[in-house]
Amino acid sequence: MFLALLPFALVIAVYAFGSAERLAVNPNDKLLPGWTSFVDAIDRMAFQPDKRTGNYLLWTDTYASLVRLFAGVASATLFSLIFGICIGILPIMRATFAPFIAVIAMIPPLAVLPILFIVFGLGETAKIVLIAIGVAPFITRDIALRVEEIPREQIVKAETLGANSWQIITRVVLPQIWPRLIDSVRLSLGAAWLFLISAEAIASQSGLGYRIFLLRRFLAMDVILPYVAWITLLAVIIDAALRLFQKRAFPWFAGGRS
């Protein structure tokens, strides 16, 4: 535990030292603001209503970003689960779609963003679709691979117990895919954040990414750095929550891996 905290403490110490050095030379330095500036900025963004809109900006930004993130990841997950299982189970689906998905996965999603803005307008849809397009090919391929990994013996065994194809999917395949789907979503969340921030930076009126890129014009490091820390914290919490859920909901999965 101590060893794990050490690098964090080190980074904070280096920052504090650098910040103090710069502020000693120039008290108006904006690059490495001191702790008091951070506290002011966080207080202003999180606990004071914005003068122009009356909103508490940190919370409205967080809400806007998380809605987009969840909508994008959830739709990608639903699509990938259904499609991935079909590709994994049905040889005809695999032959038809596996190469297509492999190629689609190679398209840099950000290159498609202008198309999405043209097609869906600058509203929420384009951002959600960008996230979904960005992560769906990965999750789909991962799920298809995990389905193929289920030993053939299990499927045959289910058949000898009188299972039809539907029962095999719902009682044998799907229950074993859930925890693996959580792994897959956890791995793709990093990419999802990337696409979210990018979309917000380019065209948006709210959101964590929007705020960071807006304040960049004013070199407002006192707000940008806490925002980055906040995004990191959110990502860590979501990841930990998914891991905890996986452990609680699928005890057999952890047991099988150890």
């Binding site: 013996e153 045959v156 065994k157 117990l161 009188g162 039809n164 539907w166 057999w252």
Partner: protein, 256 residues
């Protein structure tokens, strides 16, 4: 009582002949042991009985009707590994066979039907001696216990034929002897025919009422692909059965 006829069955993959001219008439309630060298088609024969693979030529009849072209609940199976479902507890693993049969859409039973299914499953779990582990997941069971579970799971659909593909190959000798006693008891108490693939001749002589050996009659490298294995010995085993009924165990590796 179930009779099985295997009539002039061949199995070929592309150009390679794996099995040729396999014909067998299996009497009701037989315990058939299939032995042979690796790659001689033992498991292929078992998979054809299972319906997982189809004969290239010839036919397999159960009680006079041709075998359906896919696995079904009248033929239970236990593989060497991966026979049980890791995401279900012992109780759920065994109940599953009843749920598949009785709930084609939901795949689950509710209320009274569920209670009855669970009670029946628990009966089979007790038969194989796993009553202490009802709520455990397979990952928490030893290899021998997992195979016990796989057997209970296969028996709950009351199959006419039980197919065992080297089920004890990965177990310790002591555990294996316990499993032999269990399998013999379950077989004696039922009407089912058992087919078991084994590497171990002493195991085969000990368990079986009939021993089938598969081998290639021609084994020169240039002939291997064109000539498959067929039955080289078909030995009825009767003299050991009295011993078995008296409960005399053979030591592991005993030469018979």
């Amino acid at each position: 009582m179930t009779t099985i006829s295997i009539r002039d069955v061949w199995k070929e993959y592309d150009d390679q002949v794996v099995l040729e001219r396999v014909s067998l008439e299996i009497e009701p309630h037989a315990f058939v042991l299939i032995v042979g060298a690796s790659g001689c088609g033992k498991s292929t024969l078992l998979r054809m009985l299972l319906g997982q693979e189809q004969p290239s030529r010839g036919e397999i009849l159960i009680d006079g009707t041709p075998l359906p072209p896919e696995p079904g609940p009248d033929r239970g199976v236990v593989f060497q590994r991966y026979s049980v479902f890791p995401h279900l507890t012992v109780r759920e693993n065994v109940t599953l066979g009843l749920e598949f049969g009785q709930a084609p859409i939901a795949g689950r039973l509710f209320g009274g039907a569920r209670k009855r299914a669970i009670a029946e499953a628990e009966h089979y779990i007790e038969l194989v001696g796993l009553e202490q582990a009802m709520d455990k997941y397979p990952s928490a069971l030893s290899g021998g216990m997992q195979q016990r579970l796989a057997i209970a799971q296969a028996l709950i659909t009351k199959p006419k034929v039980l197919l065992l593909d080297e089920p004890f190959g990965a177990l310790d000798p002591g555990i294996r002897a316990d499993m032999h006693e269990l399998v013999i008891k379950l077989w004696q108490d039922s009407k089912m025919t058992v087919f078991m693939v084994s590497h171990d001749l002493s195991e085969a002589f000990y368990l079986g009422t009939r021993l089938i050996t598969l081998d290639r009659r021609r084994n020169r490298p240039e002939e291997r692909e064109r000539y498959g294995a067929s039955i080289t010995h078909d030995i009825p085993i009767t003299r050991r059965r009295e011993n078995r009924h008296r409960g005399i165990k053979l030591a592991e590796g005993d030469v018979l």
